[in-house]
């Protein structure tokens, strides 16, 4: 069952079509990437999913139907515009926000204790929020997002303000949650994190969904006619089917002619007795795909 199903949603602000006929679904138990350049319509899409904004047209189904007050307790949300009550103790802020997600006082305390320990904030629990560093506040907001054991989590830029150690901790937490069957929608600009964590993604640009599907399929879709090889010795000067080559740190990128397949090139290399440590079809990085798609759209636009 899809945790989120979006069909042809449109949202206009004056003459601007912030979201323009976007459709996608998020399957239960996956980490889904919601990507796009600044101002593409990602945050508006999230706000429509969470019923903060009403779409002008189109349908949204979340956790099996329309958004309701009861469903709010089953959803964790870390928005882009975020903060915590500054003038109260950290413990008090977390307990209050957890209680608004339906946790009783005892449950909230028990879960927050575990998370505060895990995020290394236990010794700061009595401090006022305004006395905490930006990174600490970011971790506290992540605790609020996960403390009530939500079935669906929507997080906007979860790694901003975190050092590498805490970034790893959050990634581990997200993977752990996925293992438990939690659905996570992650909105980020950090493509390396998407490559590492996401099962599927949608790329929104200028309000439209321009890429949608499994990460590997998208990369295959954008893969050029190139292979990466790492020979044991030297490569022959002439390789049938190869039109040019680029070397970098012992690895060579071979650009193939259109009428030859990578398998034929591999067979030719093996038959000519070249030793190979590595031979793989060169896949573009998500960064490259992102830039290619967005710049291509801009040219078209």
């Amino acid at each position: 069952m899809a945790a989120i199903q979006i069909d042809h949603i449109v949202k206009k602000f004056g003459s601007l079509r912030a979201v323009d006929d976007v459709s996608f679904s998020v399957e239960s138990g996956e980490i889904f990437g919601l990507l796009g350049p600044n101002g593409a319509g990602k945050t508006t899409t999230i706000r429509i999913i969470l019923d903060i904004f009403k779409p002008d047209s189109g349908q949204v189904s979340i956790l099996g139907g329309a958004m309701s007050e009861a469903k709010k307790d089953r959803i964790g949300y870390l928005p882009e515009e975020r903060g915590l009550y500054q003038d109260i103790r950290l413990e008090q802020a977390l307990t209050y926000l957890a209680s608004l997600k339906g946790l009783t006082g005892a449950d909230a305390r028990q879960r927050l204790d575990a998370y505060l320990e895990r995020f290394d904030l236990n010794q700061h629990r009595k401090k006022k929020v305004k006395e905490l560093s930006k990174g600490m506040q970011q971790k506290a907001q992540l605790i609020v997002t996960f403390a009530h054991n939500p079935e669906l989590v929507i997080i906007d830029e979860p790694f901003s303000g975190l050092d590498p150690v805490n970034t790893q901790m959050v990634k581990d937490l997200m993977r752990e949650q996925r293992e438990k069957g939690v659905t996570i929608v992650m909105c980020t600009h950090q493509m390396n994190q998407v490559e590492e964590l996401c099962d599927r993604l949608v790329l929104i640009n200028q309000g439209k969904a321009v890429l949608y599907g499994r990460l590997e399929e998208i990369r295959h879709q954008f893969a050029g006619h190139e292979v990466l090889v790492k020979p044991v010795g030297e490569l022959p000067i002439q390789i049938p089917g190869v039109v040019s080559r680029e070397s970098h740190n012992g690895t060579v990128l071979l650009h193939l002619s259109q009428d030859v397949s990578p398998q034929e090139v591999l067979r030719g290399l093996v038959e000519s007795g070249v030793g190979l440590e590595r031979f793989e079809i060169a896949m573009p990085t998500l960064d490259q795909i992102f830039i290619e798609v967005v710049q291509g759209e801009q040219k078209v636009g």
Binding site: R47, R82, Y85, Q86, L100
Partner: protein, 403 residues
């Protein structure tokens, strides 16, 4: 309901448990107690407990009745001492044993003539004690019930022709209640308004808006905030009133007229019935202003306008008292912002038709609910406009493009 309760508790406790609030609450009763102690000390310093004497030339006080001293009184009654002749009384006065002495003339019972001899005017307590002594002895031979009736004096009581309403000298409290409640109303609204505006704008300033709004509905959030912050004001008011009420209960045994005060009259209950929804309504309207404003200072300035209709009944108080059934009086008792003070005042001075009372109170409750809804809508519409103002026509749904 559970979430409204949680928002309420959070809003209430974070103010009430602060040192600043505790200090503010304690300061007034402490000042009152300090002033009370100062007053008692001043009275004690001026208190003259020496007896007063009398010389009975009319010979009518052969076996005088003496008032039983009240053991509970802070300052005991001044003793009344009989002297056989004026010489002995004068001697005692010269020695300073008495404050002064009264001389009943030979034909006192016919003429009522009494002469006071003293170096200085005897204390108020001495004069009162002597007057009571004389009164009690003048009526001592009459039947007991007649004595009590004569000594308690007259009480004027005015009743309407149909007997449904009455008013008497001891019922001034009935009129004072709506007036005093109105003043307290404005006080609490101003105090609560400050807390409330901060609490609403805070969601914007701290950027907690989206987290909160995806946890509770705007109406639940606003209801919790409004009732929570209103309760902070009411708690402060209650604690401030506890001190004078405790003082009155304490003074009841010393000051007899306090015992005659009737507080829990129909006017009192009507005032309470009107004031509760009025509090919620005004607080909710202030919250709506807070939700549409961008900064606390801006919201405070706009909220000041709400106090104007609240003060209006005081401008027209003379009309309300002299002509409580005039069209303006009726309209003001039906209009929600002026009703909390006007309706009870009219009620104290005239027989208000039942439909007017019922309509006014019902309208107040409807307006209170509508104001909470409006505050919730203002919050929903204004919440994501960081630094942008919400137009009134958008708030009332006149603008087509809502969020």
């Amino acid at each position: 309901m559970k979430k409204i309760w949680r928002v309420f508790l959070y809003e209430y406790l974070r103010h009430v448990l602060r040192k600043r609030f505790i200090f503010a609450v304690l300061s007034l009763p402490m000042i009152v107690v300090a002033m009370g102690i100062f007053g008692v000390i001043m009275v004690a310093l001026q208190y003259d407990g020496r007896p007063v004497g009398y010389v009975d030339l009319a010979n009518w006080l052969a076996n005088p009745v003496e008032s039983a001293p009240d053991a509970a009184e802070l300052f005991r009654d001044v003793e009344i001492v009989a002297f056989p002749g004026e010489e002995a009384a004068l001697q005692a006065l010269e020695k300073g044993e008495i404050q002064g002495y009264y001389v009943f003339s030979k034909n006192y019972l016919e003429s009522g003539e009494v002469r006071l001899v003293a170096k200085e005017t005897p204390s108020q307590g001495a004069q009162t004690a002597f007057e009571s002594f004389v009164r009690e002895n003048l009526v001592k031979d009459l039947p007991k019930e007649v004595q009590i009736r004569l000594l308690s004096g007259d009480r004027l009581n005015i009743q309407t022709l149909d007997g449904s309403r009455q008013s008497g000298e001891g019922r001034w409290v009935e009129i004072a209640i709506p007036l005093a409640t109105g003043v307290l109303f404005m006080f609490v609204v101003n105090m609560t308004g400050g807390y409330l505006l901060r609490a609403v704008v805070e969601e914007k300033e701290n950027r907690t808006m989206e987290i909160v709004i995806t946890s509770v509905s705007p109406t639940q959030l606003m209801a919790g905030k409004i009732v929570g912050n209103l309760s902070v004001g009411l708690t402060q008011l209650f604690l401030w009133l506890v001190a004078p009420i405790a003082g009155l209960i304490f003074l009841r045994s010393f000051v007899p007229w306090i015992q005659s005060i009737q507080v829990f009259t129909p006017t009192f209950w009507l005032t309470m019935a009107a004031i509760l929804p009025a509090f919620i309504m005004v607080a909710a309207l202030m919250a709506a202003v807070g939700a549409t404003a961008t900064e606390t200072s801006e919201a405070s300035a706009v909220a000041g306008w709400f106090t104007i209709p609240l003060v209006m009944p005081y401008w027209f108080m003379s009309l309300l008292m002299k002509n409580p059934n005039a069209p303006l009086s009726v309209v003001m008792s039906l209009f929600p912002l002026t009703a909390p003070v006007t309706l009870p005042v009219r009620f104290a001075f005239t027989t208000v038709p039942v439909w007017q009372t019922a309509f006014s109170i019902a309208l107040l409750y409807v307006c209170a609910a509508a104001s909470i809804w409006l505050a919730g809508r203002a919050f929903r519409l204004g919440m994501l406009r960081y630094g942008k103002r919400l137009a009134l026509k958008e708030l009332f749904g006149l603008e087509k493009k809502a969020l």
